[in-house]
Symmetry: C2
Subunit: 563 residues, 2 copies
């Protein structure tokens, strides 16, 4: 069936111009743009006064961070005009290994948004991470021939690249062998170190927080992904990149964005809107969000409204609000007048589904499991910095006579990270300051990057109750007070994602957040987000893993008690 979209103004991403022309589409492809008329088509839509542009592309996203399944995320993204994302299933791979990647591929097959996959490069992130799987170069290699696998995901292990670690270099060279690209992640790296990192064949970066950093990278050949997520917001600092010559080497990404933000603010459309509001050209911003991402990633025939291109097309109200009315994905109407058109959810093979839905392998816990046997009076305590993922370390006097060392008056709470993939019984227990809970406990299966069970509490009973609730839910977030669950959010898909809609997830998330604040959590922090990063031993300075405390700067285990 031939469809004619007529009388709209078309954003030409090859020329940065608006053209008035008609677009003729046949099935999935654009036949042409120009003097086509009603007689060429089976169906005609008059779009007078509207703008047509290519569908937006998110060049770097972790689906797991949205807590939504690919299907549910697709609905939110489509409403924002996103017709393609490049996802790194890094979190689920730490939990379920190759089955996790297979899940992401299957759960995103034939969606009305194209989901491309970058293979996670750092599973686990360090030797301290007890993950559900370890992925080496040869494990990943089998997947490069998948038509939606575009390369190797963010190579966070930049010290490994600089040291020419054979395992790391093998992962990179394997991707190159298959003609695939390698995403970067090396915040603040510059000069000769950056040269070496780039020369290894790592061709982009999404961690730039200053224009100087981004411009050095562009000058050295990298492509820059301007990131605006829920926590990491780099757009304002990187606005100068929307000007020439920089814009030619940039694209737009969200990396990690929560469902509430996706619903209220938007997705890539939100970044474009903000850039336009800051005075940047909408035509440039749209080019960055479409053609440039597509060409960088080698997505053939995607990213433009032009002959032979896939008909991923947006109908916008105007170029100021970037309000998305209709979305065509592969020639099919996917959003009509601001409403997503129902689509069939992909089937997932039962074995894969079973692995992902049963990712917890952990015996029931008792309050005694959270008990700390005193071996001294002074402990290494993790201190949270509000609004940051960085933590500090303090040596603090702990009085074990009362409540096994917890002291809510001084904001000294207990923190535990419990291995949950292989039921090894490994656990790290210690103290944390800065969360501010006055009572109860919270627990979660989201704890980067290994996603073990993490618990913070004011007493061992509530900690055990919260932890066991996560266990019985098969993953999620829980808030407990006096043994009772007062709020919870199940994340049954690998302990990372919900099976509910974006609106439901956003609402549950808010309930859980409010419940923690009711227990006294400091208004300055996002308790579950801060907690989720307390286990990541690549962000300084003191973190808790299943093996115990880790001093990130020296990459050494630290005993709880001062010696």
């Amino acid at each position: 069936m031939k469809l004619l979209l007529k009388n709209a103004q078309i954003v030409n991403v090859f020329t940065d111009r608006l053209e008035t022309a008609n677009v003729l589409i046949d099935d999935k492809k654009i036949i042409g743009v120009g003097g086509y008329d009603d007689s060429d088509a089976d169906k005609v839509r008059d779009l007078s006064g509207k703008i047509i542009c290519p569908g937006f592309i998110d060049g770097h996203i972790h689906i797991e961070s949205t807590m939504l399944t690919p299907s549910e995320l697709t609905k939110v993204c489509l409403l924002c005009g996103t017709t393609a994302i490049v996802a790194d299933p890094h979190e689920i791979a730490n939990v379920c290994g190759l089955s996790g990647i297979a899940y992401m591929l299957e759960a995103s097959e034939n969606l009305p948004m194209s989901v491309y996959i970058m293979l996670p490069s750092c599973v686990p992130s360090t030797g301290f991470d007890e993950t559900g799987a370890v992925l080496e170069a040869e494990n990943l290699a089998v997947l490069y021939n998948h038509p939606r696998v575009l390369g190797l995901g963010e190579m966070m292990n930049y010290p490994g690249v600089l040291a020419e670690d054979p395992q790391v270099m093998q992962k990179i060279s394997k991707a190159h062998e298959f003609g695939k690209l390698v995403n970067g992640h090396a915040p603040l790296l510059g000069g000769k170190g950056l040269d070496k990192y780039i020369a290894a064949g790592i061709s982009d970066d999404h961690e730039c927080s200053t224009e100087e950093e981004a411009m050095e990278r562009i000058s050295k050949g990298q492509h820059i992904m301007i990131r605006q997520g829920t926590a990491a917001k780099n757009l304002d600092a990187l606005l100068p990149l929307f000007d020439e010559p920089w814009s030619r080497r940039c694209m737009l990404v969200t990396d990690d964005r929560h469902p509430a933000d996706l619903i209220s603010e938007g997705h890539i459309d939100n970044i474009i809107r903000r850039a336009v509001k800051a005075g940047k050209s909408p035509l440039t911003a749209i080019r960055m969000a479409t053609l440039q991402a597509a060409e960088y990633f080698g997505m053939n025939g995607v990213g433009a409204v032009a002959p032979g291109y896939t008909a991923d097309i947006l109908v916008l109200d105007d170029l100021e609000t970037v309000k998305v009315c209709d979305v065509y994905c592969r020639g099919q109407l996917a959003v009509s007048d601001g409403k997503v058109i129902d689509f069939k959810k992909p089937e997932i093979r039962s074995d894969i589904r079973k692995t992902v839905r049963n990712s917890f392998y952990l015996d029931e816990l008792s309050p005694e499991d959270f008990h700390i046997e005193p071996e001294g009076e002074r402990c290494h305590v993790i201190k949270i910095r509000p609004g940051q993922l960085l933590t500090d370390e303090s040596i603090t006097e702990i009085n074990f006579d009362r409540n096994n060392g917890v002291d809510t008056k001084r904001d000294i709470l207990k923190l535990a990270v419990i291995e949950r993939h292989l039921n090894t019984g490994h656990k790290g227990i210690g103290f944390i300051s800065g969360i501010g809970l006055k009572k109860g406990a919270i627990a979660s299966s989201v704890s980067h990057d290994a996603h073990n069970l993490i618990v913070i509490g004011t007493n061992d009973d509530d900690m055990a109750a919260a932890a066991n609730r996560i266990r019985t839910m098969g993953g999620g977030n829980a808030v407990v007070y006096e043994g009772k669950i007062i709020a919870e959010m199940p994340l049954p898909e690998a302990g990372l994602m919900s099976d509910l809609t974006a609106a439901e997830v956003a609402s549950q998330n808010e309930e859980v957040r409010m419940a923690v604040h009711k227990l006294g959590a400091s208004a300055e922090i996002e308790p579950f987000m801060n907690m989720a990063f307390l286990s990541l031993p690549v962000i300084p300075s003191l973190k808790m893993t299943t093996l115990g405390l880790v001093d990130v700067n020296s990459q050494r285990l630290v005993p709880l008690f001062e010696k």
Copy 2:
């Protein structure tokens, strides 16, 4: 061995800026650009006052048109700063088929200039061409995995694309299956026809002669090759493409350039120089001639002076004259102070060499072979247009009583095209006007695209002598007067290329040219070049093939005598 090039200004093709920095090279690759110093290197060159830029890339060239072997062409190109060419061995493939392509690949292996190959898409060009080989999609497919084969060469058969000819579409889809691109060639095609041609997956064009034509193509997603050859010179008309946004989708090519021009004017450097003289930015022109060609063709790590890139580097005097002092190719000095450093010529397998050097299969010819048996008094005569490849047709009264119809006073000469690949005895003989020879005859093995033996003369004896000389030389150009060879140029490689140096070829070419003019050839024409296109039945309007006269517009054979 680590080499430091210091104190030069570096053309940054990512930012269109000049940077003062030092470049550190290790073996074939660039380690980095920046604050490297003597202590980082084993060898240091001070390039104060000089400019460093990436090596130039010719995105579309026919090596055969230079009449030089790949080795000899490399020497001339290197002196001009060209470190990579994309060659379509279209002419030799018409003569020797896959062996011809194999010859080009072998003869260009490991040269100090990178020679990439596009597989000829139209062998033969039409059904009227009796060629040495017919290449179908499956014949070509075996070559796509060669690391230097980048795609399918110029798809001249655009009527075949528009008619969705299955053979043509199969050639295109086979290239795409291998992830390769398809070069275009569809002069003056626009509108819906162009949309269809582009939508078939043909992503560039080098035949644009007006800015409007080029801009339409860019707007529709094609990349434009701005061509400046010996005969076809499009630069002046396309100068507006050196401005934004157009320049981003353009590269520079020569297509067909003769050795004398390469020596006296240059190669890609000449195009840059001319553009700069016309007021265009040298930084833009260099970007078009380097990074943009490399990225378009997917040449990984080529086209920039940046970390991890192949060290194809030029040292220029300045950005106005674009004078090339030194050339590094893959980190090795290839030109030093304007002189090519000797290199080893590639070995060619003896069977391939034998096929190419023995491409003539034709019995000796006698004057009788050129006799026309009168069947009437009025003939269809080809009329040459000076300075053009287009020909006209006239119905002319021929008096067969004298000299079998040749009448030098009226400039009616005899023209013959004789099949020479399979010794079929097929020949087309007729009359030609516009060459102006008053005596003698000329013959050549260069006659597009089938490269049969072509002869023009004032009498049958000289025509036979000239033709036989081409035959005994195994290819070339010859000028005969009263039975004697008065000038000749052997082209023993497939009847298309010399085995001499560029200077020798240029000088022979000039001798032959002068000799024809001495025989009376019109000063307005280039006799051998005009003659070479008299056999190409895709350029209107009347042409001569081994099957006889062809009316190009109707694509029909035409009898010599008016009926």
